[in-house]
């Protein structure tokens, strides 16, 4: 298989290099033109995200052109001065396919099980397809990669569990409350993690979001950005009577909520649960607040604990995914190896001959004994004539299949059901 790939990711290159290697959509348009017209690659897909830039191409096995691909990157990204060869990994044939499948399944991501990478690969492939830089081999390889990604998510727990502070907080809220659309949340502070958590709650359909901050203007800006109602910071204790979820990420040297302050509120709330997420450092909420039966107080450490456990579980799924990748690689290469000329010609002949013989046997008694030999002869001639043109077209490659011939073989095997024989 003439698949060649080169790339740099979070394991091989530092972030400033990865940033400089990133291809924007505008840059991609020109990059594909150069790859095809100047460097002469027939098929190519460029996958470029914040953590990796990879190029997959189909090339001649006798002239593997890693140097061309490296030069292409240097040229496109004006990177001659900072790109070092050791930043890049190079793969060929099964190595390249194996790497692509690992990326699609999420096991090669910086955060194992990252769910976005599969969508990013799909986007990259569809863009290349639109630019007509993908052929039958690249199509098959990438479609297999999508299947690997799908199987990894359906058959394992690689994407399960939150792996960011904001998601862990929302996951925890979903373990306490059945229906977030009937709940109110209060965001205290306008920090980045607090804002992200509030956004995730919004996406999960939280009933109402109230926002407060020492500076009202910042609360208002945040409320305009993500939607919500601003409440005065001085009154936030009173808001706790009505809110079910509190996210606190304010910068404060002392606790803004102490246990005695919560006592009266909890009496008024009865047994209604109050979930408090304290993501401030130093902590905003007095840890003693957790003593109340209906208060669930979690700080950044407990959320990190959830993330660590989830990451451990995701890593434990890697061997199962590697098995899925091996299975798909075997299928891919079985298909690829079936694209050989002589076995295809032989299979096609056998199939036609089988049909001819079956039909002759079925109707032979309707012919006189003298005509039976003639029937055999005539049907053989019909079959030979039907097969003549396809056989001639296939044989023109003279045993050294080019991409077009491989494509013809693939189509014939598919149309006549010869793939099932594999």
């Amino acid at each position: 298989m003439n698949l060649l790939s080169i790339g740099a990711n979070h394991r091989t290159a530092p972030i400033d290099i990865r940033e400089r290697l990133y291809f924007s959509e505008k840059e991609l348009e020109r990059a594909y033109e150069v790859l095809l017209n100047k460097y002469g690659f027939k098929e190519a897909v460029i996958v470029s995200t914040c953590n990796r830039t990879e190029i997959y191409t189909v090339t001649n096995p006798f002239t593997m052109r890693y140097g061309d691909l490296l030069n292409f990157i240097k040229e496109q990204k004006n990177a001659s001065d900072f790109v070092k060869p050791e930043y890049f990994y190079r793969q060929f044939a099964s190595g390249a396919a194996n790497h692509l499948f690992s990326v699609a399944s999420g096991i090669d991501s910086m955060i194992v099980g990252d769910i976005q990478i599969l969508a990013q690969i799909k986007d990259a492939y569809y863009y290349a397809e639109q630019k007509k830089t993908t052929g039958f081999l690249m199509n098959r390889v990438f479609n297999t990669a999508f299947r690997v990604g799908k199987r990894a998510r359906n058959e394992t727990e690689i994407g399960e569990g939150a792996v960011s502070i904001s998601y862990a907080a929302v996951e925890l809220a979903s373990k306490i409350f059945a229906d977030l659309s009937k709940k109110r949340a209060l965001l205290i502070g306008a920090g980045e993690t607090g804002e992200l958590t509030a956004k995730h709650l919004k996406n999960k359909g939280i009933g109402e979001l109230r926002i407060t901050n020492r500076t009202r203007q910042r609360s208002q800006e945040l409320a305009d950005r993500i939607g919500g109602r601003v409440v005065e910071f001085e009154n936030f204790i009173g808001e706790l009577k009505q809110c079910d979820i509190v996210i606190s990420s304010i910068s404060s040297d002392e606790h803004i909520l102490k246990a005695p302050m919560l006592q009266g509120i909890m009496k008024q709330r009865g047994s209604e649960p109050l979930f408090i997420i304290d993501i401030g450092v130093p902590r905003n909420i007095d840890p003693a607040c957790n003593k109340y039966e209906s208060v669930f107080l979690h700080d950044i450490d407990s959320l990190k604990h959830i993330i660590d456990r989830n990451l451990e579980k995701r890593k434990a799924e890697i061997p199962i995914i590697e098995k899925i990748i091996r299975e798909e690689l075997v299928e891919l290469f079985k298909w690829y190896n079936s694209l050989k000329l002589n076995p295809t010609i032989s299979d096609l002949r056998q199939m036609f001959e089988f049909i001819r013989q079956a039909e002759v046997e079925k109707h032979i008694n309707r012919f006189n004994k003298d005509d039976r030999e003639l029937l055999d002869l005539v049907t053989k001639r019909i079959v030979n004539k039907l097969l003549h043109t396809p056989m001639t077209t296939l044989r023109t490659s003279n045993g050294d299949p080019q991409e077009d011939t491989l494509s013809h073989i693939s189509t014939i095997r598919k149309l006549f059901g010869l793939e099932r024989k594999d």
């Binding site: 306490i176 409350f177 047994s271 209906s294 669930f296 604990h305 456990r309």
Partner: protein
Amino acid sequence: MNTTVDVLNILLPLLYGGLLFLYGRSFFKTASRADRLKTAALAVTVIIHLIYLLLRTILFNHPPITTPFEIMTVIAFCIAAAYLFIEGISKVHGTGLFVLIPAFFFQIISTLLISDLGEVPEILRSNLLGFHVTSALLGYAAIAVGAMYGLLYLMLYHDIKSNHFSVIYKRLPNLEILESMSFRSTLFGFICLSIAIGVGLLWLPIAFGEIFYSDPKLIGSLFIWILYAVGLVSKRVAGWHGRKIAVLHVSAFIIAIFSITIVNFFFRSFHQFY
């Protein structure tokens, strides 16, 4: 028919054991084949159990309520059927392992010790008594399921409160759903027990003429009923929620089982017909 009943009697604990295996595997490992098979396996088990109870009723010419071990198999059936119903309406599939454990043990004990009562007293053939016993068994099965959900609530509550995010945290539905399932099961159980007590009180003078209101089992049953009535009223009037109500469901069930055991073993009662 005798052989079929015997075979089913041996088969049932194996089926319940298989169910525990499937629900256990699905609880500890998602995306497994057990995930897809477990509900169908539960439905098949419930149907086979129902056939067993019907065949037994036809073979011995009385409903299977004449000995404690017949009652145990009926309780196992009620728990499994109630859980199948709950799983169907709630679409919550993660709690079967826990709810089916008591059904499994009830069935094992029943299978090992069940035998037919040679002479069935005429009193046990009354329709009113059949209704009374069926309601009582359904009631006890439902409060057992309610207590089990209460226990699951407490386990998850403890996990969340103490930052101990175990497999319980990962697999169980959220606290509000567990609380609601516990409450609904208990409420259903309470209604069944109320019917059982009502019908029992109606049937007593008809069956015995002389009424034993001081009978220990009668007092025990009324005590359990009052306990649940107080719990349900507190939820409504005092607005009790969450952990308090879960503790109440679990402790009420323990007290109920304890009082039934005490009454059965240490007091003589007109309730003993075998």
